[in-house]
Symmetry: D2
Subunit: 425 residues, 4 copies
């Protein structure tokens, strides 16, 4: 087992919070007073905010890149232990990222139990396992150049199924309870892929994986409009994912990555549909302007993020997620020009901000507006929640839980990255 090297200590955080506490109390109280006028108890909202949990992707702790290159940063993690150390640091500062999603083979542990113990010692656990059949690994017998779970060659499909089952095995040892499948299968040319045959083969492969999962695991089916396949993808949209999930079994659910849709599509409505049909498994949070840009959550379309959380809170309140075990929230971003830990800290805050704003929606008033078709007031009801500055709640919840009032500032002040730059040279 590796050591963790430099860690931010509690005293540092306490000191960081100490100098901010007077202002924070004052702002929190002023906000509480304003919310009370709207009939909202700030304590209840704060409790909700603290109960949110967002999983961190191990792969996002290193600098990302595009097909045009990658510009590495200082002190990037060199292995899964260092990735978990970074994730634990994020959890330490934000207090709402208690689990890490691993990616196999990038994060394949030599000894899963050792890894589990290491993570546990840092206060984090494991979220969904993520398989990879969209690229070839060294020493891999058969290539995924022309597909994996949907390949025309049964031997390739068997290899891909086997890889997914290996992910499940690793996950069992780590305490994970879900497998997330995203494939790159598809075509770059009209005619290249038989739309029907490839979809049928994909579903059959998923059935084989599902059959090999423990009975309390969930299978997340992630769809994507394009990339890496540039003309057609086998698992292309929510409709295809929905039908596949129903064909595979009751614990097969759909995973929504915010960047995987066509331009202009109303994503919050897709979320509502999948909740309605009992097949929403989880989210990959990120933001985008053009395609699957994998930008920081909330950096481009914060109102959309709020509207998505509004649907989630709404469904929860109606008991409408009966079929849904409570969606799993994960981040999936590519940090090409920033310190990945900083981007993750900022993203976690934006996700929590949108969630808290959604908690503030006066749902009874909104339902009344909807019933009477009062569109102006319906929007205003949402906007009243969205324009509320909930920063004092976010900070207070973090401080109460032992996190940092201002995670980004604390991270910079701590010198974490510079330390890692030396340790991980």
């Amino acid at each position: 087992m590796t050591g963790t090297g430099f860690r931010i200590d509690k005293e540092f955080i306490a000191s960081h919070n100490g100098v901010r506490s007077a202002d924070l109390f004052r702002d929190y109280d002023a906000l509480g007073e304003r919310l009370l006028r709207r009939g909202i108890g700030i304590g209840e909202i704060a409790a909700g905010a603290g109960a949110l949990a967002v999983a961190l992707p191990s792969w996002a702790t290193g600098t990302g890149g595009t097909r045009f290159g990658r510009f590495p940063g200082e002190g990037e993690p060199r292995n899964v232990f260092e990735k978990i150390a970074d994730c634990a640091t994020i959890h330490q500062l934000t207090r709402i990222t208690p689990r890490v999603a691993l990616h196999i083979p990038w994060d394949r542990p030599g000894d899963p139990r050792e890894l589990a113990a290491f993570a546990s010692s840092l206060g984090v656990g494991f979220d969904a396992m993520n398989s990879n059949t969209f690229e070839d690994q060294k020493a891999q017998r058969l290539s995924y150049k022309f597909g994996s779970l949907s390949h025309t060659d049964a031997a390739v499909r068997a290899q891909a199924i086997g890889h997914n089952l290996e992910c499940v095995e690793i996950g069992r040892a780590l305490g994970s309870k879900a497998l997330s499948i995203w494939i790159g299968d598809g075509g770059n040319f009209p005619g290249q892929v038989d739309f029907r045959g490839s979809y049928e083969r994909y579903i059959e492969s998923c059935k084989s994986i599902y059959a090999g999962m423990p009975g309390d695991w969930l299978l997340y089916i992630e769809y994507k409009l394009f990339e890496p396949a540039m003309y057609s993808t086998v698992m292309n949209d929510w409709g295809s994912a929905y039908y596949a999930a129903t064909a595979v079994g009751p614990r097969a659910l759909c995973l929504v990555d915010l960047g995987h849709h066509a331009p202009n599509v109303n994503i919050e409505m897709i979320v509502a549909r999948l909740l309605h049909l009992g097949r929403l498994g989880g989210f990959h949070f990120n933001d985008s302007k053009y395609g699957d840009d994998d930008l920081d959550s909330g950096s481009i379309k914060p109102f959309q993020l709020f509207l998505i959380f509004h649907e989630l809170v709404n469904a929860a309140g109606k008991g409408g997620t009966a079929g849904n075990p409570g969606p799993a929230y994960m981040i999936d971003q590519s940090h090409n020009v920033t310190d990945p830990v900083e981007s993750l800290l900022a993203s976690v805050e934006e996700i929590q901000r949108a969630y808290v704003q959604a908690l503030l929606v006066d749902r009874a008033a909104l339902a009344e507006c909807q019933q009477t078709n009062d569109a102006v007031m319906a929007l205003r009801t949402l906007k009243t929640a969205f324009t509320t500055d909930v920063a004092p709640i976010l900070a207070s919840v973090r401080v109460s839980a032992g996190g940092a009032a201002d995670p980004l500032a604390a991270f910079r002040e701590s010198g974490y990255r510079a330390h890692k730059g030396k340790e991980r040279a």
Copy 2:
């Protein structure tokens, strides 16, 4: 019953064809010789081409418009009889448009039997009935401003259901066998519409209509991403339409309008999915560059039109349309700057062209390319069919069936529009 006024007579068409026949025979034979080298019998293709049937929308015989205005043309039809006369003229020249789709209330007949007899006397019948709950009619009791089949008010829903059932009644008298439902329901503001409630109400309303249809009728559910609702639509995409169809009953099917998708979406794949799942009911053909532009079929993306027909022909060959009764082909266009009859003549030809090109695809070779992941040759197999100039087949098939070698030229030479300009002053 109204008279028809001026009609293009057989002798005129015969004369039109006569002067073109020598060239046509020569071109047909030369093409036949080339196709034979590819192992294709031109006669078989011609037979397939002649078997195509495309329904004409009554409403497209008048000049369309946008929200910025409408510029009427000369001699537009003033009533359903004149619309049917125009459609019959198109069928006379093209020979593959034997049915007319009516729109109620715009085409509500005083006496359906009279209308049926009139149409029959002109050689045309009736296709799917189209209801209208997206605008208010004079003397309508309740408004559809805030929805129809999904309205929050049960009384509005009942009115809309009743209107659809009236369409069925009229259709029964006319010999129609299908009802096509497209609604404008949706919202212009975030929060305006309860996504789940509105969708549930829509499905319930469709069930009521379905229950009132004769047992041999089909119900087509048409989805659309946006417009007239500009933030969210209740029946928004193929996934929503697919689930709704399964909830309503086995004779409820999805209708694909080519202009109703988000930018960049792979429509041919949606077609393949719905065929696969046994829920493709029909098409509304048109073309578009930006949104639901309702431009002439094949005018912007002819290769996409070919790829769609390729999926249809493909599915038919595989018996894959088991659950599908054979999709119903309809045109749905808005002719804002052209003579509507001319645009329809040109569009029918483009649709037939794409269909014939799709018939030319060497499916065995393509299947082999797909099996071996030979992407370059897969595309080439499609392109060989697409770049074949099938004009001689189209013209020959028309001439053989008594139509015009060149429908557009014949229409102009006939003076039809000028005559109508006087008759319909």
Copy 3:
């Protein structure tokens, strides 16, 4: 001259404000204290907020519609006097909409001086004149079906030029200082329009209009990607508008309508470009999800609206708008499902909110982040401004100027619409 009928009186507004004043003072002070910690004087921001002026479009006071129909509301204005009365009411409540943009011929006054006096008596003036050559009027000699300022027929162009000059004449009498030109010219078919010829003719026509304008007038050239023309538009994008403006003359400037761009386009960058090149004339504010949806400003993408104002404020601070006379802000929306006055009240507030948030940006800090490529902190600097709840500033500024603390609530409480429903029956 018509009378105004029911007006909201000052006492009503004072009473409305009175019951809100205690809370408002408290919220304003709390915010002031928070801003002070960020080095910002709330009074300065409030002064800036009060200096904003947004023009109202006369045509948006009536219910809008789509090509699928229009659902009129109660008490819509029946003529230009009633439209101005509605606009004056909006100004009365918001205090930042002192001018009305007229549309000719819809608002052609019998006697411009009478109209000017009427408007003046209600406390409003006139903004840019808007010509209309995208639809035909009764008794119009030549049709605009195939274009206006770019038509192939010189006589049609002359007619369109003449109409624009008539708008200038009316505007002179009213005190307007600008003409805004938006045309529907373009094509629905590949090949229909000669791209080069039509663009040259458009520019020549603009030169003629420009030559006929008073020397202190500005000419706004508005571009649009599509609609009503659905394949190509003559004045299609900012690049085309920019070159045309330079060809026409120094007082020819570009007008940006937020809904007139392709999907995903970075509009704030276009704004920056036009400011940089000294050719940004003005804005048409609205919001959209799909195309030119003309939804209420800030209802879909409030962060984008903020980023646009950020560029405007930024340029002003740098003196970068040297060539720009200060952009003219106008609203251009279509209110299809709401009370138009309510939508305008809400939109004005959203525009002012985005502007005030932009004023809060710490530009020195941002410039430092940009210089050092600190992307995370650059975004955070913007987000700190954007997530500030500036509602207390907006309300205080309005109250100080004699407007309503909550314009929407005041409007509903006043019974204005019900009164107009009777007066305008």
Copy 4:
């Protein structure tokens, strides 16, 4: 100098052509007869087709990839000599790709004169030089992570300028006459980049490069909407490129890559605008469905490709390209799932097909349709050209020039790739 290894010999090609000649002559004659009826001399068209020249990008001879991985193929070229050998083979078979575009540093020659001699010995020359400041090279002093020609740090800009001037030097030795600049500069976050400052710095850097170019060289400015920067790019669209070109100098021109636009944008109109304004420098051909997919030319939107060539032919006929030196045609594609040489052979054919179809347009008839606003016939005039099967012309022109009747088939028959698989092991 390296040897070339296996080459396809003339006898092989002659034999390949021999077995196809009878059918080819027959098809050519039949087409000639049909075209003559339309008043077109097939010989003149063939002469035009043979005069087309398309440059090949050295970098496209290897297998491309996405950020999700790369799947190498057999026998890929390992250095610039092998790349040129592949390009020469393509020219040998197609006869219209006489020049290669190099990319520095990927293709930096040890001795440019040796490389020039090598290329000359294989019958090919050099097209535009392509610089690379979008990724970091080993041993590079300063990083381009945050930009290059527009970087905030003058030292980085100087380094990037120097690199471009080095490209010019190499190009001079090779006989190139143009430098093509595409940068990755831009931002992933709102606020990251100062829009105005970065654009000004870019223009200043281009001026420095321009000043260092020989007087007979052209500078191509390539714009792109997004990627690798995902929120904003410094050289974002044709308007920005146009203004920059005018600011830099008369020999600075714009380069249009078909995949660099927003969804739905009318690219043929942009081509017409740049031709009109005398600033169209060249093309990067490829095709795409979603973003900058870099798919094979003509594989997705062949009609669009035809419409673009129609504008080019149109402008040439009108002498409208006075300011343009005749656009430079280049291919820029990423061949991820095919043999790159096969994709290039197929793409060259599709480009030539579109060009020949454009030559067939009856421009006098089209001009008359445009003048009289006969939209249906305008489109038909284009469609008559587009649906003509020009394969016999393409094959004949190749055979006449010593190329292969069917380049793709000849390439496969030759065993070229298998030979290279051994030679380049």
